[in-house]
Symmetry: C2
Subunit: 120 residues, 2 copies
Amino acid sequence: MPRIRHTTLTCSPGCTVEATLELFGGKWKALILYHLFEDGVLRFGEFRRRMPNVTQRMLTNQLRELEADGLISRTVFPEVPPRVEYELTDLGKTLKPVIQALKKWGDRYAHALQGRETGT
Amino acid sequence: MPRIRHTTLTCSPGCTVEATLELFGGKWKALILYHLFEDGVLRFGEFRRRMPNVTQRMLTNQLRELEADGLISRTVFPEVPPRVEYELTDLGKTLKPVIQALKKWGDRYAHALQGRETGT
DNA sequence: GCCACTAGTGTCAGGAATGATACCATGCCG
DNA sequence: CGGCATGGTATCATTCCTGACACTAGTGGC
């Protein structure tokens, strides 16, 4: 369900920039990663509480895609009621500086984002 | 034409991450910015040559959106044939660490992006 | 006159991304 | 037995994004 991926990373010198962006360019992926960096481990329901305006379906989707990309791991505990924990993989953890850079910029230049269409 | 923007940056602590991403989350925006960081000033046609698989319409679109967001400036020279130059604004230049972080990650972990659907 | 060049714009269409809503299994609690 | 909790799925609809293609203006060159 993500956009088309780059396979040959030779299309242009900046191609890897695009390719990286495709990994967490999904509408909520960066937010998911951000919360994982903050909290370490999160259950499905905790994500829901932290991101109330994301539908269950979208959340599942984005989590699965992040998992498929090897950025997060999903652990199911065979309990009732079910428990599923998500956490960053080693690869996912390497994204920390990237997310941090995004956050830092956003915090500093948030004013540049104002005055747009209505959003969340 | 971009996705819905955040106006109140209070939806969640990581909201600014998403908001920042919306600025250059467009399919080709990061690439445009990247080339501008590399070359400083670029004409429309130079973008086309650097990004051959982007249609003219998309390129115009993405450039206009970046301009509307105050990240790049567009200077028209009243000549024939017409000449239009694009360059980063001061605000746009502040994104450099972010783009660099993306590039750095992509270059290092490109292997994690392999084996996906066909792309460019 | 005819063609080329640059930097676009207009229109249309297809597909992907997203959202709303309803539904499921299991086991505990009362 | 009924209801609740968790972590999902399934289906459908819609909206948004993206691309293909054709077309434009003004001038220079042949």
